[in-house]
Symmetry: none
Subunit: 222 residues, 2 copies
DNA sequence: ATGGCGGTTCACATTCCGTTCACACATGTG
DNA sequence: CACATGTGTGAACGGAATGTGAACCGCCAT
């Protein structure tokens, strides 16, 4: 949840970049009305333009007494004095202008403090999901068990959808530059990947004859 | 308590201006020796010059497990990435160079927070309970006797469920210093942990071949 | 000293999977 | 259709990664 509405562009952009979905609200009434089904995950209130309205929002959030919903307050350096005696209104604050990475670090730390999970790094393509932190893979909701090399190969392919790679390129990018060995190794791994993806999704990895392999985005259908 | 010794002049000056008495220490040993009769009120650790030593200090402060001694970490913007996976080492952070009034506001807010216990004192995962204050561990109600290193390793793993860590990452985050050889040490500790967790819960720690180890969150969930 | 404790290291056993091969099949070309 | 070239398929080998037991070593307290 962001305040004010519309949200400051640099704030919206930083959150988008970090992959955090958000909605901006104009006042506490709108905050209650626009609440998503699973509730707000947190709030970022910018007090730059309208400090009084901002503190009103903070009070409203606190009054509902959610289990320590993390609340980050954005203020300019000149407003630091306004924080006096208002410690209870926010969990953390940050000076504007801010660096996007500072925002991300503060959001992460706030979520960590309140015990809420932080967003995992995912690669998604259609029905396929790769969780880069847990090394898990799933297709249409069903987890599949991949070996290390299979996972690395699929990860590389899936992060460049549509692009065709020669076997040599795959060997150097996935296996490592110093690798030298048969190029057919790639074929075998592709075969096993297709088998584990299941008959329905085996065509996610496409063969480009006398060139190599590509992932998703059937090259003909554009 | 300030780190390093001597403390950065602008930091010392800002604290003097705010009327906070302080003493700077060069390492964790000095921090123990110079402790005032009524204990440290808080710590400000500057990681600008020597990040590794700074994190070592943080760990030492945390290890003594004072009742939520607030710890403020100072880092440069370029070091923001170093905070990854180290949320437990600090209560708040601030970018350098800083405005004296931001420092004062953060210190105030930290002291205000101190009264209201925000740091988790328990880690629970399924049948496993880790009491961070008493260094006790229990599985399905039965206490288990863990050595210090075993406890630290389990604590780190259990506070990031599902995430896979390489042996090198574990060595640097749990053991805390750069390690020459002997990554297999991790294996041995994992083995003993599994043994102490009991046959039924040994699978709480999973090995991810060619990568490392992860905790909980059986592979069938994304 | 010494005996236990805990952390580290080593040697060996075991499992797993990356690689390779041989062959079948598919595709393109004359 | 014959041929060459490229790719799919199954199985087998070998080695790397991990599990396992035991020894080593520094530390502290009895």
């Amino acid at each position: 949840m962001l305040f004010p509405d519309p949200a400051p562009p640099e704030l919206a952009q930083a959150l988008d970049l970090g992959g955090y979905p958000w909605k901006s609200v104009g006042d506490e009434v709108a905050a209650d009305g626009d609440e998503p089904p699973d509730g707000w995950a947190g709030a970022i209130v910018c007090a730059d333009a309208n400090p009084e309205a901002a503190f009103a929002i903070c009070r409203a959030v606190r009054k509902r007494d959610l289990p320590l919903e993390p609340l980050l307050l954005l203020i300019s350096g000149a407003q630091l004095g306004d924080l006096e005696l208002r410690d209870d209104l926010f969990d953390d604050f940050m000076l504007t202008p801010f660096h996007p990475r500072e925002l991300e670090a503060r959001v992460k730390h706030l979520f960590w403090r309140t015990g809420r999970g932080t967003r995992p790094e995912l690669i998604e393509y259609g029905e396929l999901i790769l969780n880069l932190e847990t090394y898990q893979a799933a297709i249409s909701g069903h987890p599949i068990d991949l070996t290390y090399m299979e996972y690395e190969l699929l990860k590389f392919l899936a992060s460049h959808p549509g692009k065709v790679f020669t076997r040599e390129t795959l060997l150097s990018r996935v296996w490592g530059y110093e690798y030298y060995g048969g190029a057919r190794t790639v074929d075998v791994h592709v075969r096993r990947l297709r088998a584990k993806l299941g008959e329905e999704h085996a065509n996610l990895i496409q063969t480009v004859r006398s060139v190599g392999y590509s992932f998703g985005q059937s090259r003909w259908s554009i």
